[in-house]
Symmetry: C2
Subunit: 136 residues, 2 copies
């Protein structure tokens, strides 16, 4: 029994071909950040006959199940990222659109401090840096 099957069952999801394939694509992809359209195209290229609507439905289910995180970067569409348990923030290259992940403990700590100072507990946060390659 493949890895995906276990993950799906653990998430309480019936093991179906679209779900296994989509999970597999998310695990294999190197960019780590795929739009629904990206996943759909990957399926078509792999010769799988899966509808775009199913891709959206499955990704949303994965999000609910905590397998995947949905990001709303700039421009219209959402991108999905497999949740590997490690927290990180994102840097988006405005020229290429590519996404770089990073972590910074100091920033994490400061965020907690700021929430505290206002009498709140920090539940979640979202930090995206929009950057451009340095001109020299």
């Amino acid at each position: 029994m493949s890895e995906q099957n276990v993950e799906l069952r653990k998430a309480g999801l019936k093991v179906t071909l679209p779900r296994v394939k989509i999970l597999s694509i998310l695990e294999t992809d190197e960019t780590l950040h795929l739009s629904a359209e990206d996943v759909y195209r990957a399926l078509i290229e792999a010769g799988e006959d899966v509808g775009l609507a199913t891709v959206y439905r499955v990704l949303t289910q994965f999000e609910t199940a905590g397998l995947v995180t949905r990001h709303n970067f700039d421009g219209g569409h959402s991108v999905f990222e497999l949740d590997r348990g490690d927290h990180h923030d994102h840097m988006v290259d405005m020229e290429t659109g590519s996404v770089i992940e990073f972590t910074n403990d100091q920033i994490e700590r400061l965020q907690h401090e700021i929430a505290e100072q206002h009498g709140f507990d920090l539940i979640d946060h979202n930090l995206v840096l929009y950057v451009r390659k340095k001109k020299m």
Copy 2:
């Protein structure tokens, strides 16, 4: 000559009724964060006959001119905020939905450092803390 006219001229924008009205709505609003739809409704309520397409066009122009900042908070629609010259980040109270603004120089500085370390210039950034009132 009203305040709005000056701001529009300074931004290099022709002074038209829709632009003046929209700017005025953004200046008057207390929530500080309006969607295009919100602005459109406010115009209709004020008896102004302005099309939704124009609202989008004007808000986009305002953004380009630096009068307004566009935020892509959660999913779906964008919200626009009048740029009052002060940079700040946002804290969203998850229970009430209210938005608190804050600034932190250390975080600002760290963001620049992180971009630098990756060979980038920091163009813009987006930081939202999702918080909940402390239980005591």
